[in-house]
């Protein structure tokens, strides 16, 4: 039952914003289902991929996919992801998290008031 609810809620958010699935699933896995952090990240990524593919199909059907933009972003993303993986454990997570929080608050307010 717990898994049904978690799945549906994460799915709705993921489909609605096409993002944030991992931000929700990783803490759910670590705190509620007691996975360690690495397994939680791996398992959440694995869960989200099919959801993202479904979102892509629905968005494409509604003409929300700009392939030129998406592919360019993905190109940068592949290089960035590789760099990020290398940097992991080399820079302090605490300061990074603080920057991330400040950015989220700024962006959140910006999105609401714009």
């Amino acid at each position: 039952m717990k898994k049904v609810l978690i799945g549906i809620i994460v799915g709705i958010i993921s489909g609605m914003f096409a993002a944030g699935g991992g931000l929700l699933l990783v803490p759910v896995y670590t705190y509620i289902l007691k996975l360690d952090e690495k397994d939680a990240r791996a398992t959440s990524l694995f869960c989200i991929l099919p959801m993202v593919i479904l979102t892509a199909i629905i968005y494409a059907h509604n003409n929300f996919i700009d392939w030129n933009l998406g592919i360019k972003c993905a190109l940068g993303g592949i290089i960035g992801g590789f760099l990020g993986g290398k940097l992991l454990n080399k820079i302090s997570n605490k300061y990074l998290q603080i920057i991330f929080i400040i950015f989220l608050i700024y962006a959140g307010i910006n999105m609401i008031t714009r």
């Binding site: 898994k3 978690i6 799945g7 549906i8 994460v10 799915g11 709705i12 958010i13 993921s14 489909g15 609605m16 914003f17 096409a18 993002a19 991992g22 699933l25 996975l35 690495k38 397994d39 791996a42 398992t43 694995f46 869960c47 991929l49 099919p50 959801m51 993202v52 479904l54 979102t55 892509a56 509604n62 996919i65 700009d66 392939w67 933009l69 998406g70 360019k72 972003c73 993905a74 190109l75 940068g76 993303g77 592949i78 290089i79 960035g80 992801g81 760099l83 990020g84 290398k86 940097l87 992991l88 990074l96 603080i98 991330f100 929080i101 989220l104 608050i105 962006a107 959140g108 910006n110």
Partner: protein
């Protein structure tokens, strides 16, 4: 070029495990003025190749717990169908505001999680100090 740099930044953040997709959508919409639906669409295309690469590594290291993953994934797809259809029908302004609220909720959770790690670290340091004192 701008798009590639934005993708690169989001990729680094994602690789560090901190919500690369959220950052990608934000950068596209704040710095390039791209409409919310299209920015979200770009994130979907961004996510697929980057995550497949990471999943391959995780599969090799046996980090994926299938027993948990499969039921959540199946129910997740049901939710995704609902979410994506609702999102497609939503007015851009409302969708953007909803996304803003979602970001603030994530921010609050992140602050809580930061506070929790801080408390844990402090406790551990105190125990170490106490133990050292005990030995003397």
């Amino acid at each position: 070029m701008k798009e590639i740099i934005i993708g690169l930044i989001a990729g680094v953040i994602g690789g560090l495990g901190m919500g690369g997709g959220t950052i990608l959508i934000l950068l596209l919409s704040i710095f390039m003025g791209i409409e919310q639906h299209i920015a979200q669409g770009a994130n979907v295309i961004f996510f697929i190749p980057t995550s497949i690469a990471a999943i391959c590594v995780f599969l090799k290291n046996k980090n994926i717990k299938f027993k948990i993953a499969i039921p959540i994934c199946i129910w997740g797809l049901v939710g995704t169908g609902i979410g994506a259809v609702v999102s497609s029908k939503l007015n851009v302004n409302i969708l953007r505001k909803c996304f803003g609220v979602f970001l603030l909720i994530i921010a609050i959770y992140q602050i809580y999680s930061l506070y929790k790690t801080y408390r844990k670290e402090k406790n551990r340091n105190n125990t170490i100090k106490y133990k050292k004192g005990g030995n003397i």
